[in-house]
């Protein structure tokens, strides 16, 4: 800091400028402080990785890989312990697939409408209104799935149990729908008008222009929206915890109860689990699996977004 102050004093202005408060040590200090704020994000990432890795390694000193990946039973809290992760993975995938099959058609249709048909005023109103859906706390959706949607589903399909994968999946679909519509709309909107005009010039109808030209041109943006939404669905916790049940069944039947990875983490930590026990380490091992799955999705999203920007879309 002294050096910097000294060099500031030796600078151009010294003859005519009395006591300038210029680029002295203070400037450098502030820049460093601001840099630290930004670097905290890197520290957070390192923290997440370190915590997950540390506890997961301890977990695998007690449980072998084959017990984890080659068993179809998950009963770590029982006397007869099984550590097969697949029931949790299947529960997670099942609810996520249900959510995406609701969110993708709705979200894409809404995006196409907003980008290709709606006027600026409709868009200015509908877009933020849809985004309200993403702002509702998930615990509220969980309550709604359990208390409102499940009884309705049961009225139509008697086989649906009180806790099931279908109801939270559907609600989750509604929740992530604005994520898909918003990002896809950005991508569709960025498609240059010349492409549309080119298609019209060939005599294409509006619909075939949209589906043959505009949507394909915006493909990577739309796919990025979907991968982001999938990641969100995989990581969603409270809806599936409340309405999905807590039974790690290795099943793809949406009418029965399931347990997702996130729901398992919650069900263990509701109680008091002492550090160092296998139960405690289990939630970190499951957390690592969850992190890997969501990170892969986020990574693909970032890649796709970057490549779509690179093309000037």
């Amino acid at each position: 800091m002294l050096d910097a102050t000294a060099s500031a004093l030796r600078t151009v202005g010294t003859e005519s400028e009395p006591a300038p408060r210029a680029a002295g040590g203070g400037e450098k200090l502030i820049e460093t402080l601001l840099l630290l704020c930004a670097v905290l994000s890197i520290i957070t990432t390192i923290g997440v990785l370190a915590v997950l890795l540390f506890e997961t390694v301890s977990f695998f000193t007690k449980v072998s890989f084959s017990q984890f990946f080659a068993d179809a039973k998950w009963t770590p809290l029982f006397a007869n312990k099984h550590f097969g992760i697949w029931p949790l993975v299947s529960g997670t995938l099942l609810t996520s697939v249900i959510a995406i099959s609701v969110a993708l058609p709705l979200g894409l249709m809404a995006a196409i409408y907003l980008s290709e048909f709606a006027g600026p005023r409709t868009r200015a109103f509908v877009k933020p209104t849809l985004e309200l859906l993403a702002g509702v706390p998930t615990i509220v959706y969980g309550y709604f799935a359990l208390v409102f949607l499940t009884p309705i589903l049961q009225a139509f399909m008697p086989q649906v149990e009180a806790f099931n994968a279908l109801s939270p999946g559907l609600i989750m679909g509604i929740m992530i729908m604005p994520m898909i519509s918003s990002l896809s709309e950005d991508a569709l909107h960025a498609v240059p008008n010349e492409l549309r005009e080119g298609a019209y010039g060939l005599g294409a109808s509006k619909l075939s222009t949209i589906f043959r030209v505009v949507v394909p041109a915006a493909k990577s943006g739309v796919v990025a929206a979907v991968t982001l939404a999938v990641s969100r669905a995989i990581g969603e916790t409270m809806i599936v915890t409340i309405a999905g049940g807590a039974q790690p069944n290795f099943t793809f039947d949406p009418r029965g109860a399931v347990e997702t990875m996130t729901a398992f983490i919650i069900s263990v930590s509701k109680g008091d689990t002492p550090t160092g026990t296998i139960e405690y380490q289990t939630i970190f091992a499951v957390g690592s699996m969850l992190f890997l799955m969501t990170f892969t999705m986020n990574f693909i999203t970032q890649r796709l977004l970057r490549s779509s920007r690179g093309k000037g879309l």
Binding site: S7, A8, R10, T11, V12, A22
Partner: protein, 255 residues
């Protein structure tokens, strides 16, 4: 070498944006307390050249500079030079009037001093009146100094920006096409102002308007493709250009 008649000496000034070379090695001595105009077609490097003088060029990430620019005797690219302090001696007025929107007229004038922590409260009123007076704006705004600067007309805003630069008390004033966003009447006001200011300041004005150069400047430089083609007394450059390219440009054959 440096001499008392010239304020700025540029030697072999070369500048790049990424891989694109904008200035090809410009040598130029800018006279003290005179108005020097720089003309040339778009993209000839005239704006880049004056942005090199107060080291605004290097603010762009991909920008690069080579050469030497002396202010009085001192190399402004010397390792011990602080560009911040340099810019207090070499002020700049930009193409589009850009008063600070969150500040009143008065605060805009004082902005440079206030922001750099050099304002003595007791002197503030005098500085505001003096600077606005020099910028020929005092009479029009003296009753509404508390109002926002953005509420003035375009021409008034540009004079406010000039007053803002003068308040810092620079020795050199660089003007980057200061009238290109203004109407003819506002332009005339600024041009009148320049002839008053030249007594105390060294002024370098970039313009794409050749009439303006003839009206306001003592000397004129013609830039083309990043080179200084011709530099001389304004009258003789426009009446008897030495270089055929200068002649082609001023007679409107290109550009």
């Amino acid at each position: 070498m440096a001499d008392s008649a010239h304020k700025i000496h540029a030697r072999q000034v070369k500048a790049w944006f990424a891989d694109k070379q904008i200035l090809q090695g410009v040598d130029m001595a800018i006279p003290k307390n005179q108005v020097t105009a720089i003309i040339g077609p778009s993209g000839c490097g005239k704006s880049t050249f004056i942005r090199c003088i107060n080291r605004m060029h290097e603010l762009v990430d991909v920008a690069r500079f080579e050469g030497e620019i002396l202010l009085d005797e001192q190399d402004v690219y010397g390792s011990d030079v602080d560009p911040v302090l340099l810019r207090r001696r070499v002020g700049m007025v930009f193409q589009k009037p850009n008063p600070f929107p969150t500040m009143s007229i008065r605060d805009n004038v004082l902005a440079g001093l206030k922001m750099t922590g050099r304002l003595k409260k007791s002197e503030a009123d005098a500085i505001v009146e003096r600077s606005l007076g020099k910028a020929a704006l005092w009479g029009e705004v003296k009753d509404r100094l508390k109002e926002p600067g953005g509420g003035l007309s375009g021409g008034q805003q540009q004079r406010l920006c000039i007053a803002r630069s003068l308040a810092v008390d620079p020795e050199v004033l660089l003007m980057d096409e200061p009238c290109s966003a203004l109407d003819p009447i506002a332009t005339a006001r600024i041009e009148d102002l320049l002839s008053d200011l030249r007594q105390n300041y060294t002024i370098v004005i970039v313009t794409h308007n050749m009439q303006q150069a003839t009206r306001v400047s003592d000397k004129t430089a013609f830039f083309l493709h990043g080179e200084l083609i011709e530099f001389g007394e304004t009258d003789s450059l426009f009446t008897h250009p030495a270089d055929s390219r200068t002649e082609d440009y001023i007679t409107g054959k290109f550009g």
